[in-house]
């Protein structure tokens, strides 16, 4: 699997995701600078976490208009898989690759904590290593992760199986207690219609080693390798 990780000036989890990819594939991803409108052909594009251009305006709003994102949109339209994590989820959503939006957390504070996620489907190139209904533990770290979509969009997402992950309690119950940010329907991650684009707020890249947060996030990377190699 050849992959590229975008780097905006304020990206700060690009190293974490690059490390996770290298751990699983044995191969370093290409790091692509935000000002570059073109980059080598790859099997996967990752938009990592961070603060893109500072995010003093709406998160990801400026990054969505960057030269590199114009290229990402083009390739996504051709079916190249795109994974947006945290700020990357905000950016791909702002860029129109995914429906909905990420609002300020309901409690208005930054939250960094392990959360439990319920895997909604194993039928995607991102989640094929998990079982539908499986509960995994990975961390979140964000201030604007409160997913929202209007009723019509939400219904479409639910009906077409575009929900990838939901926040839940340790026992798998999708409830208020397990929701760290107020996301509607406890949504933690969504696919586009073709399931070639995944955006999620949690950080599977920070859960790939037993001594450093556990390995529940590793399946996501292993699944992509299996699907894309």
């Amino acid at each position: 699997m050849k992959s590229a990780v975008l780097v905006f000036p304020g990206s700060n989890r690009e190293g974490d995701v690059a490390q996770a990819i290298e751990l699983v594939t044995g191969r370093k991803p290409a790091m692509v600078w935000h000002g570059d409108g073109d980059f080598d052909k790859v099997d996967l594009i990752v938009v990592p976490g961070g603060f893109s251009y500072g995010d003093y305006l709406r998160c990801g709003a400026m990054a969505a208009l960057s030269p590199v994102m114009a290229e990402v949109k083009k390739r996504a339209a051709q079916g190249v898989p795109v994974l947006g994590i945290c700020n990357g989820f905000q950016i791909v959503t702002e860029a129109g690759l995914l429906p909905g939006t990420l609002m300020r957390n309901a409690h208005l504070k930054f939250v960094c904590s392990d959360v439990h996620l319920k895997v909604e489907t194993s039928q995607s190139l991102f989640t094929n290593r998990y079982q539908a209904g499986q509960v995994i533990k990975v961390p979140v770290a964000h201030a604007e992760g409160n997913y929202f979509a209007d009723a019509e969009t939400l219904k479409r997402l639910e009906d077409r199986g575009q929900i990838a992950f939901r926040y839940c309690s340790a026992n798998g119950a999708v409830d208020v207690a397990g929701n760290p940010n107020g996301s509607i329907n406890n949504i933690a991650g969504v696919f586009n219609e073709t399931k070639t684009v995944l955006g999620l707020m949690p950080h599977p890249e920070n859960a790939v080693e037993p001594l450093f947060g556990g390995t529940d996030g590793k399946g996501l990377f292993e699944g992509m390798v299996e699907a894309l190699s």
């Binding site: 000036p9 700060n12 930054f110 770290a141 450093f212």
Partner: protein, 750 residues
Amino acid sequence: MTIAEEKNPPVKLPNEPAITPQIVAEHGLAPDEYERLLKIMGRTPTMVELGIFSAMWSEHCSYKSSKVWLKKLPTKAPWVIQGPGENAGVIDIGDGQAAIFKMESHNHPSYIEPYQGAATGVGGIMRDVFTMGARPVANLNALRFGDPEHPKTRHLVSGVVAGIGGYGNCMGIPTVGGETNFHPAYNGNILVNAMTVGVAPSDRIFYAAAAGIGNPLVYVGSKTGRDGIHGATMSSTEFNEDSESKRPTVQVGDPFVEKLLLEACLELMATDAIVAIQDMGAAGLTSSSFEMAAKGGLGVVVELDKVPMRETGMTPYELMLSESQERMLIVLKPGREELARKIFEKWELDFAVIGHLTDTERMVLSWHGDIVGNIPIPPLVTEAPMYERPWTLTPLPTELDAAKVPAPKDWKASLLALMGSPNLASKAWIWKQYDHLILGNTAIRPQDGDAALVRVANGKAAGHKGLAMTSDCTPRYVQAHPETGGRQAVAEAWRNITAVGARPLAVTDNMNFGNPQKPEIMGQFAGAIMGMAEACTVLDFPVVSGNVSLYNETEGRPILPTPTIGAVGVIDDIATAVGARLTQAGLALVLIGDTKGWLGQSIYLRELCGREEGAPPPVDLAVERRNGDFVRGEIVGRRVAACHDLSDGGLLVALTEMCLSGGTGATIKLPKGAAPPHAWLYGEDQGRYLVATTDGEALIEAARKAGVPAVHLGYSGGVNLAVEGLLDVALEEIRAVHEAWLPDYMNAAV
């Protein structure tokens, strides 16, 4: 500009006020200090010159009250690469790597404007570390707030925590540890002490000493604005009712720009272009240019009109004294300007050559071709005021007889009250607002162990090297007896590093005290230093960097003396480290160290009896070392499952914390012939650890051989915490009060 021109007296700028005694006083210079200035200058200074003296001779920059005492601290060890005097301390951590770290206060600004004050405190300490070539790997912070019932406390907690998180989270550096206390003595002066730890190749450390006559002086980072003017002077006086009006002296932070600055500086550092580099912190351009020239024994010409400015109409005075954030000063090798410019332009930062080095040992400031300041550098350093202020040591209070302290009427209620009290309650509300996991290296998270533990990649295939770090001080002990308190703060930091299995290496100190012109305050400072010096010597735990914050008083009321100790240790393989979490049943619980049942100055005495009295627990440093070395050996030898040092609240609180964090209960029994149960369970005797192990007998036998007191208390298991004959309470009941206090407090309507 030629050297001949540099000796010209400066011109006076239009509208420049005459220097009056009132203007001198407003600059915080005492009359005799101004006399000293006149002697050095040989004439009346211009405004910008007066401003420079004021900043450089402020307590904050000159350490004029503390220097004579700071010299008593041990600063050397074979592993110390750089001790105090640079931007941060540097120690060798093996594998050709160095850890670079320092703790610094931002107390006064954080009280006036909590969000920006705390945020820029974090920004400032990170710059101190990356200016030396290190990539920051972790942040910690030690916070002291006033009485929770004080009307300002909630607002201050909220702002400070958001500010620390806002800055550190955006920078992408995990905030992995720290401490938060409440006490009415901090009502008018909170403490915000921020620490950064970074890692660099040990042969690629960057220093501030300028070299090379004619070399260009380069300004990079943000533009200079009018924020933070006189910050250093403001931090060197007491607060009064007008302190609110000092808000304009607080700087405003931009963590995104600092992130760019970090990346750009590290990129430039990977080339061979840099001769010297210094961040612009307190007293901004003044102290950075001055210190670089002074350390190199050189002079400097600064063309102030070339400084990138945020607003129009700025004066030389404002440019020299602004504390705008996210700026660096660099001396480049000749001919490297374009290489450097390209890097900073890539990161969309300002870059300007603003002067050059000379051999005149003078600081010459020019403004559109005119000289507006001309100061000889060496005398400003050598003739700087230094005070041996009168000091009175605090006498050792009488020992409190534990038998005269009432036992709890209801054991369960006493434990619930302590675990739900402001100082012992869970601080998850705070550290969950800090990204403590970014970079993927955090092995021991907040609340999971006595020290935070962070991986340092060392290029080796086997094992993960780790840095352990902690911040500690028990101000009530220091208040009661500064020497004991100073000793204890160092010992506890050493113990916390030890309790995860790491080797304690070195210390950074952040000395927060009241007005040093009062002999009893100066005596607290002196006593704390004596205690710290002794502990650092016996424990081979040198001080490599530090910061002093004095005048933490409001309307004459001082804070508790608070010498915060930040410490760093190393462990060769993180797989051998342990946390404090009890995660399995059937483990033997063994208490290491001697228990007499010391209740003087204990949390039990304060929270449950409403008394702050008696002598603090004594610290026997030889015993401390013996016990700690034994425990560390057992941990690294993989004979320990969990370990927690005993501090605030003693044995029962430590055991409760282990149970809560690991989600496993425990049952213990008091040994025969023990002190009164409440003294035994809540006493705060020093040098102790509670260890969980699969083989209690072997551990006790090993301890016996090492001459270390050890007693088997009971086992982990179940969902309750029980002390035979005294207490049996469900963990979930304790957890509820322990986790509720802070969020409930913060969410309560005002």
